[in-house]
């Protein structure tokens, strides 16, 4: 082994010794991300919300209105928590959040329907709880439409049509609705899978920023650089290696957990997905290096990390679509590696796309890694080894 080869080993050994001596820093590379990702998964592990409470105001109290109420309760997404007498009572339930909507059945409901006229039911829902309300609206509408169709069919058959004839007549063009790649519109698939990399990027930036920033804060840059034989590339490389390994392992862990244990098999290109994961970790290693190199202050870089990574998921276009965002938000979203990675993950993992559908996004991620990383190392080399850059708190 010649002199040059010893460099990285001792820089790595130095970094490893530091990590081993620090319970919390080591935790940030291991059990803390696993625990927090685990909690997130647990929150959404039911996948689909079941038995959300609603109340019914049945002003008719007839056979048909009671049937409608029973059908609502039987629907898996709905639980009829109570029948109440007035809108005031129903609104009280909504404000108390023990019900998320109420169905108002008018007093002439059955009478109108039996005499061949149209009756209107009103569904009033708490739109402040948008995802609760969205699931409920779909189910309540389905129940009401089903009952409506049944009544219509009965009326036609009374007029002497056969069942088949009546069915074909009452809806000439039928529609089958499909949610591709996620038939049940499960939140476990749609949200949890996307939240895992969103957590990952937070940890990567915090770990890298901490690891380099600490040398600056403590003014130990000369020792750090000496341990890398004076090479900035090696010095930074030694800092990035442990986060890189830890977070690639975390990415693999959630890939294995969801694809094997939770049955969300990778439908598209697995090699492309693995490469995308690696590029995500590298891109954020690069971004974090640039962040600390630009600020030269652990505190400022951590504040920057909070600003960039904590709200990143809101900008990433998974919950609220990119195409509906105003230009500045869209621009910020495009400047986040997470946005591009999530498009890759969605395509390769669940939508089943072949590798070539993500080349553009992968090049962007690689660009982030190389571009930010290079500028970061350059800035560190220029500015970090000067006492003026140390000790900022």
């Amino acid at each position: 082994m010649n002199e040059a080869d010893k460099g990285p080993v001792s820089a790595l050994a130095r970094e490893w010794a530091r990590l081993r001596g620090d319970f919390w820093d080591l935790g940030m590379l291991s059990w803390i991300p696993v625990a927090l990702c685990g909690i997130l998964w647990l929150v959404f592990s039911a996948g689909i919300a079941r038995d959300l409470p609603i109340v019914v105001i049945d002003n008719d109290n007839s056979t048909l209105s009671r049937q409608l109420t029973r059908w609502l309760d039987a629907s898996p997404g709905i639980a009829v928590a109570a029948k109440v007498a007035s809108s005031d009572e129903a609104l009280h339930r909504l404000r108390e959040r023990t019900a998320f909507g109420y169905l108002l059945i008018p007093n002439d409901f059955e009478q109108k329907l039996l005499s061949g006229r149209q009756a209107t039911v009103q569904w009033l829902y708490n739109a402040q709880f948008s995802s609760h309300a969205g699931a409920l609206l779909r189910d309540v509408r389905t129940v009401s439409t089903t009952l409506s169709a049944g009544i219509e069919m009965t009326a036609r058959m009374k007029k002497g049509m056969s069942g088949v004839q009546a069915a074909a007549q009452f809806e000439p063009i039928r529609t089958t609705l499909n949610s591709l790649y996620n038939e049940n519109t499960s939140y476990e698939a749609f949200l949890t899978l996307a939240l895992m990399p969103a957590m990952l990027q937070i940890f990567i930036v915090v770990a890298v920023v901490t690891s380099i920033g600490r040398e600056l804060r403590d003014g130990t840059v000369p020792q750090w650089l000496t341990s890398a034989n004076g090479s900035w590339l090696r010095a930074v490389g030694a800092k990035l290696l442990f986060p890189l390994i830890a977070y690639c392992a975390l990415a693999l862990l959630y890939l294995l957990f969801f694809s094997l244990a939770r049955d969300w098999a990778v439908a598209g290109s697995l090699p492309a997905l693995l490469l995308s994961m690696l590029l995500l970790v590298l891109a954020y290693c690069g971004l974090a290096t640039l962040l600390i190199a630009a600020t030269l202050s652990l505190r400022l870089a951590l504040s920057g990390a909070a600003f960039i990574t904590a709200p990143a998921f809101a900008f990433a276009g998974q919950a609220f679509p990119l195409m509906a965002m105003p230009a500045p938000a869209r621009a910020w979203a495009e400047a986040l590696p997470l946005t591009h990675y999530l498009q890759l993950q969605t395509k390769y993992w669940l939508a089943g796309a072949p590798w070539r559908y993500g080349v553009q996004e992968m090049l962007i991620l690689a660009g982030f890694a190389v571009g930010c990383g290079a500028v970061g190392v350059f800035l560190l080399a220029r500015r970090a080894n000067a006492p003026a850059a140390w000790g900022r708190a």
Binding site: D22, I32, P33, L36, I39, L42, V43, F44, A46, R50, L52, R95, E96, L113, R117, Q118, T120, V121, Q122, W123, Y125, N126, A127, Q128, S130, S131, G134, R141, S144, T145, S148, E152, F170, P172, I173, R174, T175, L177, N178, S179, L180, T185, V206, T210, R299, L302, S303, F307, G317, A319, F320, P321, A324, M325, P326, T346, L350, A351, Y357, A393
Partner: protein, 388 residues
């Protein structure tokens, strides 16, 4: 003693640049930054493709209706399914209307014809708009055909329409009546931002005091000293909440103006609970940055545990209980109910009770830690070996 400690804590907050930024500037920056992606509030003109394998007058009519639909934008009409698949994988379209061969023949022969509507289920909002829009297109054309048929046997179109759909369904959104996405998410996140910036700022101050062996409140650790510091930090939470609930909700035009008195009462309780929680937490930290590191990473789980975006009843029972240990859980639910829904104090009694219990527990534990602070400060060198 209490006022001395109150003033000393304020002085410490205002003279620490890092804490000052977090406690007073952070919330203001986030208040403009976080609602930004949602400022358009609703999704319009979702790109879709029509796969027309029938190429009949009827399929062209369906395509024209899709083009005219306000929430859709037809960017491709093709007979080939693989073309649509390609567009889906490229994220160029979010939905597809498939009109199979024989559609018109079936309809004319009085047989039920089938059209398929598919949306990208991995983008829930776009999926919903695409599915609803395309289903409406098919429904409208289908209803037109049916009405024509019924019209032959019934006297008026009104009557025909009533026969066609006996139960009319009228959906009415309450509280967030415009159904804006930002109006749904941001009020909850506002409380989270107040909590997280406060906790980061507080752990930063406590960590720094520990590191530098300086403490703003000198001498014996008295109850007055504890109370003064608690009040000082509670003021920060109070001011930040006032800024969000008063200015930001008005500026962004979110639903508001609910129960003002109730809000004020919960606000006092929430601020005290946050401060007590933060002090208990802060006394665990030995370095300036440790709290920041941990707190950035916990923001997302903490938000989802509040039960605003995902029903509490669908969480595992353990989490349904554990989530009450965070002040944000009761805070987010309680403030949304008061500010956006105009709930009464009785209607948020669980949140009030939860915060009260949390406040008492945090004060009890915090006071116990506070009295032990003397020893730890003296014993700094021993502790330093344990934790940097």
């Amino acid at each position: 003693m209490m006022w001395q400690s109150f003033i000393a804590t304020w002085r410490a907050m205002l003279t620490d640049k890092g804490a000052l930024t977090l406690l007073f500037i952070g919330g203001i920056i986030y208040s403009f930054f976080y609602p930004l992606p949602y400022s358009t509030e609703i999704v319009q003109r979702v790109p879709v493709a029509v796969v027309d394998q029938d190429r009949s007058a009827m399929s062209r009519q369906l395509t024209r209706f899709a083009m005219a639909h306000p929430s859709l934008q037809v960017i491709a009409v093709t007979p080939d399914l693989p073309v649509a698949q390609d567009l889906l994988w490229r994220d160029k379209v979010m939905g597809v209307l498939i009109l199979p061969e024989g559609l018109q023949t079936d309809v004319l022969a009085g047989r039920a014809a089938h059209a398929q509507v598919a949306g990208n289920g991995l983008y829930l909002m776009l999926n919903k708009v695409a599915l609803n829009g395309l289903a409406e297109v098919v429904g409208t054309v289908s209803a037109g055909i049916e009405l024509k048929r019924l019209g032959a046997g019934t006297p008026s179109t009104v009557q025909a329409n009533q026969q066609r759909s006996p139960i009319a369904f009228d959906a009415v959104p309450l509280f967030n009546v415009k159904e804006g996405y930002g109006a749904y998410v941001v009020p909850g996140v506002a409380t989270l931002i107040v909590q997280q910036t406060l906790l980061i700022g507080m752990t930063m101050l406590f960590g720094t005091w520990y590191q530098r062996k300086t403490f703003p409140v000198a001498g014996r650790r008295t109850a007055g000293g504890y109370a003064g510091m608690l009040l000082a930090f509670a003021c920060v939470a109070f001011l930040n909440c006032c800024y969000f609930f008063g200015f930001v909700f008005w500026f962004q035009d979110y639903p508001r103006g609910g129960n003002f008195g109730g809000m004020l009462l919960l606000l006092v309780l929430f601020s005290l609970a946050e401060a007590a929680f933060g002090m208990l937490l802060g006394m665990l930290f030995r370095t300036r940055e440790r709290g920041t590191q941990l707190m950035i990473a916990t923001s997302m789980p903490v938000l989802f545990l509040a039960g605003l975006t995902w029903p509490v009843s669908s969480m595992p029972v353990v989490l349904q209980w554990l989530r009450w240990l965070l002040p944000s859980t009761a805070g987010i639910q309680g403030f949304v109910a008061l500010n956006q829904m105009g709930a009464s104090l009785y209607e948020i009694r669980h949140e009030v009770a939860g915060l009260l219990a949390l406040l008492l527990a945090c004060v009890a534990l915090g006071w116990w830690r506070w009295r032990k602070l003397d020893e730890t400060v003296v014993d700094l060198n021993k502790a330093k070996a344990l934790d940097m």
